[in-house]
């Protein structure tokens, strides 16, 4: 099997693992980590498309590589924003549960720290 196939299947498995973690892990921070796993799996699949497009003396097609670099930056921005939201939620509500029936999420809308 070529490197592209091995890592392509690895990327597919990573995307699946990330999706599983996103659904199953109850802590929001774990969901953020899992979402990043899912994203990196998709990036790797982009990477093997680039590798297979090797031509004109380049080891990999530069266009998908540039798209992945842009994607990583955007994914990091989104992660930072999500983490900041989570820390603010913890600050105001004292817990980070996403469960709608939890007492922390009922009637504590307007507590400003």
């Amino acid at each position: 099997m070529s490197a592209a196939t091995v890592f392509g299947l690895c990327g597919a498995a990573l995307a699946g693992l990330g999706l599983y973690g996103l659904i199953v892990n109850p802590q929001p921070l774990r969901k953020i980590v899992a979402f990043n796993l899912l994203g990196s799996g998709v990036f790797i699949i982009f990477g093997i498309v680039a590798r297979r497009g090797a031509a004109a003396g380049f080891g990999a097609d530069p266009v998908p590589q540039a798209l992945v670099i842009t994607g990583m930056v955007v994914a990091f921005s989104a992660t930072a924003l999500a983490v900041a939201l989570l820390l603010r939620l913890f600050q105001t509500a004292g817990s980070v549960t996403l469960d709608a029936d939890s007492p922390a999420n009922m009637g504590t809308d307007s507590v400003d720290a």
Binding site: Y20, P26, I48, R51, A56, P62, I69, V74, S77, A80
Partner: protein, 315 residues
């Protein structure tokens, strides 16, 4: 099976193992540590895929900054851990999630195996037009010239994310200092490293930006290294984050997209299209944009990790 392909399979297996660890680890802090290791291993995968520029970005972002961000958040949220863990979904839900994820992974896997044999590629087009910019690194060419609009918008996304993070500050702390004031033993290892590493790190960061014109590197990995050095000094308590109302800071934050936009609009006035560089000045213009962008990237990334303002400016 050659040794190289055996090593690739082993690497893929270790990456998958690490990914599994971040999902099943009992403590979020342990999962965050796993994610750092995962990011560094993934950088090796990118090297094997002949994408060294991506590998540098992955190591800097996935292994470095995301790690600092997640570890910091996990430490702060530790008190909420037991309560949140009790909400783990039941067996049927988990089974359903596993089935769904397996289906998605299988679909991805099948599409990987069914990719057309004559792979479509833009590499010849990128090679043919490289003369126009005078840069030797094809990825920098794509990022800064052929698809420069993407890069410009990506910088705007970074700024928007920072505005989003800042806007989470309570009203009375608006304009204050982001993050907690860090204190470390002034004679400890952290303070020692925060004095020892930055001179080296700053030189490496600038070199990575400069070399990025012709070799793997560029504004993004270089700016990330600079941001890491800045964060190291902040975390050792040797300096504080700037207040978010500081005019100098805001000028640095808009320098990158600002220079980019001015050059782009100049292309519209003088040249043929938005972001069209005149061929004679393409390389100096691109390098000017990269230098401005590096400063902006370093400042924005550092502040994204530092988080929302937590201390008022009045102190």
């Amino acid at each position: 099976m050659t040794i190289a392909s055996a090593l690739e399979m082993a690497l893929a297996a270790v990456v998958l193992g690490m990914a599994m660890w971040t999902i099943v680890a009992r403590e979020t802090f342990a999962a965050a540590v796993g994610f750092v290791v995962y990011g560094l291993l993934l950088a090796l995968v990118w090297v094997r895929l002949d994408a060294v520029d991506v590998a540098l970005t992955e190591a800097a972002i996935g292994g470095g900054l995301s790690g600092v961000l997640l570890l910091g958040a996990a430490a702060r949220l530790r008190a909420s851990e037991t309560r949140a863990a009790a909400e783990r979904p039941g067996g049927i839900m988990r089974l359903g999630a596993a089935a769904l994820s397996a289906t998605v992974a299988a679909a991805f896997g099948a599409s990987v195996l069914l990719l057309p044999d004559a792979a479509p590629t833009l590499a010849p087009a990128a090679a043919a037009n490289a003369v126009a910019t005078g840069l030797g690194n094809p990825v920098t060419n794509v990022l800064m010239a052929f698809r420069a609009t993407d890069t410009l918008l990506e910088k705007v996304v970074l700024l928007l994310a920072l505005v989003g993070v800042w806007s989470l500050a309570p009203d009375r702390l608006w304009g204050g200092y982001p993050g907690a004031r860090h204190q470390a033993d002034p004679l400890g290892t952290l303070a020692f490293l925060a004095r020892l590493l930055p001179p080296v790190g700053i030189v490496v960061g600038i070199y990575v930006v400069w070399a990025g014109a012709n070799y793997p590197g560029g504004a993004f990995p270089g700016g990330t290294i600079l941001a890491a050095m800045w964060l190291l000094v902040i975390m050792a308590g040797l300096t504080d984050t700037p207040t978010i109302s500081s005019r100098r800071l805001r000028l640095v934050l808009i320098a990158g997209p600002g220079v980019f936009l001015v050059v782009g609009l100049g292309g519209l006035c003088v040249g043929t299209a938005f972001l069209a560089y005149p061929v004679a000045y393409a390389k100096p213009l691109i390098i000017a944009i990269e230098i401005a962008m590096t400063l902006t990237i370093a400042a924005t990334l550092g502040l994204l990790v530092a988080g929302a303002p937590e201390r008022s400016a009045g102190r």
